[in-house]
């Protein structure tokens, strides 16, 4: 199947899983104290993280914008997810350049993953970008620093939960995808 079609199907799946399944799962680490934030886990940024390594920046930006806006539509948060996603997509190339030994264009259609990058660099890459995304999104959503502890707690808890999902995704799909690429 053509790569673009494949990516489009993947995009639809990520958006549907995020908006139809994960948005229904409200997580709270502790019920007491009662001020502890409730949040939903985000998996959709993984789509941007897993785009091919040689994707040009302008395409990344547009894909990020579309992904964010699609999630926004379902959550009535017009623009907030999109803002965070565009920022993440813009920073992606810089982070990858810093972590990878070769020039990005030399990798071709390979996707960032454990096979190409190794566990530690990939986890650093995804953790850093996810942290940026969550920080931007929750700052925009809460829109005040009057309760900064709550904001930071929500960002931290949400990022760690999303990272667990990313690791879960990697463990599930790493082997099969690398075989398919060969």
């Amino acid at each position: 199947m053509h790569t673009n079609v494949k990516q489009f199907i993947k995009f639809c799946l990520f958006i549907l899983i995020q908006t139809q399944v994960l948005d229904k799962i409200m997580i709270r680490w502790w019920t007491e104290p009662s001020g502890f934030p409730i949040f939903v886990p985000f998996l959709y940024p993984l789509f941007i993280l897993l785009l091919p390594l040689s994707t040009p920046v302008w395409l990344l930006l547009f894909v990020g914008f579309t992904t964010g806006l699609s999630v926004d539509l379902f959550n009535n948060t017009a623009g907030m997810h999109a803002f965070a996603c565009v920022l993440m997509a813009y920073l992606r190339t810089n982070v990858l350049n810093a972590l990878l030994p070769k020039n990005l264009s030399e990798y071709g259609q390979q996707v960032p993953g454990v096979k190409v990058m190794g566990w530690m660099p990939f986890l650093t890459y995804s953790a850093f970008l996810l942290l940026i995304l969550h920080l931007t999104f929750f700052t925009l959503e809460i829109w005040s620093f009057s309760n900064i502890g709550y904001l930071l707690l929500k960002v931290l808890a949400s990022t760690i939960t999303s990272m667990l999902l990313v690791v879960g995704y990697l463990l599930l799909f790493t082997n099969s995808s690398s075989i398919r690429n060969k």
């Binding site: 001020g35 934030p37 930006l61 539509l73 379902f74 803002f83």
Partner: protein, 287 residues
């Protein structure tokens, strides 16, 4: 000109990034006002359809719960009806009876008249700072902006965006607007939500001399867009602020937002008249 094109070519990515972020900021700014845009909300046709599909699947799993809640609501309404009948009998027993001629129109002045429309909740959130609920009714079914939404047990929110078949409702779990509220004793204040806990609302700025007991009910008033005397919740904690002699009441919400399945959209027929009058007085004041 050549330099300009070179400049654009060199910084194209950065410029595109800035442009997209500006678009996002504009979208956020427009939605953050109470009159947002309709097309980018969950009430639009495509998103509404997807949510409806999901709800159609999930509907069957919650039928039992829904039955129970409807039974409870029926029992509550029956109780209310029987209370009314009882007090009517008492009046009959009293010595003075004064009959009002039915033709006399002064015996019932209707300053508010309500139409209740049922709707199913097809999407719901409780974890965001401003939580929205999507209903499967739109302007084809007579829903308009700013109508009140209540559940079988208490208040839910206010209709924000309406499309042909769907509407999104800003639930009272938001930090944008407060709801006018009343204690059983008649003291009036406003209820707001502090994010983090979807069961707890806060009624603020009640003078300390007003005695409030734990377990007291809090109702809506006729000042707001809600119909009066709809239960908001019950007080479970008081906090006195020494600084200005006011107290905060923590209220356990009467509506369970975690498993909201159906709601009533309430239309006040006289609301437009009231609104026009109030608006005309405020414009006179400013002039």
């Amino acid at each position: 000109m050549r330099n300009f094109i070179l400049f654009i070519h060199r910084f194209f990515n950065l410029l595109l990034f800035i442009a997209l972020e500006i678009v996002c900021i504009l979208l956020i700014a427009r939605t953050n006002t109470l009159q947002g845009i309709d097309i980018l909300s969950s009430s639009n046709a495509i998103v509404g359809m997807v949510l409806q599909k999901r709800e159609n699947v999930l509907y069957y799993f919650s039928l039992k719960q829904m039955n129970d809640s409807l039974l409870k609501e029926n029992a509550r309404l029956q109780l209310q009806l029987s209370e009314n009948n009882y007090s009517f009998d008492e009046l009959k027993d009293s010595t003075i009876t004064q009959s009002i001629p039915p033709k006399d129109s002064t015996d019932k002045i209707r300053y508010a008249q309500y139409i209740y429309r049922t709707a199913r909740v097809i999407n719901n959130s409780i974890e965001a700072t401003n939580n929205y609920i999507t209903l499967n009714r739109g302007y084809n079914h007579g829903i308009q902006k700013n109508m009140a939404v209540i559940s079988g047990t208490g208040v839910v929110g206010r209709v924000m965006y309406v499309s042909a078949n769907y509407s999104s409702v800003l639930s009272i779990l938001n930090v944008k607007q407060k709801v006018s509220a009343q204690l059983a004793s008649g003291t009036i204040g406003s209820v707001m939500w502090e994010e983090g806990n979807p069961d707890v609302l806060i009624m603020e700025d009640i003078p300390q001399q007003v005695t409030v007991k734990i377990g007291d009910s809090v109702f809506t008033t006729s000042y707001s867009f809600f119909p009066p005397h709809v239960l908001i919740g019950k007080v479970f904690k008081k906090k006195i602020i020494k600084k200005n002699n006011l107290q905060y009441l923590y209220i356990r919400s009467a509506t369970n937002f975690r498993n909201l399945q159906y709601a009533y959209v309430v239309e006040n027929i006289k609301a437009a008249e009231k609104k026009t009058l109030e608006d005309s007085t405020t414009t006179q004041k400013t002039k």
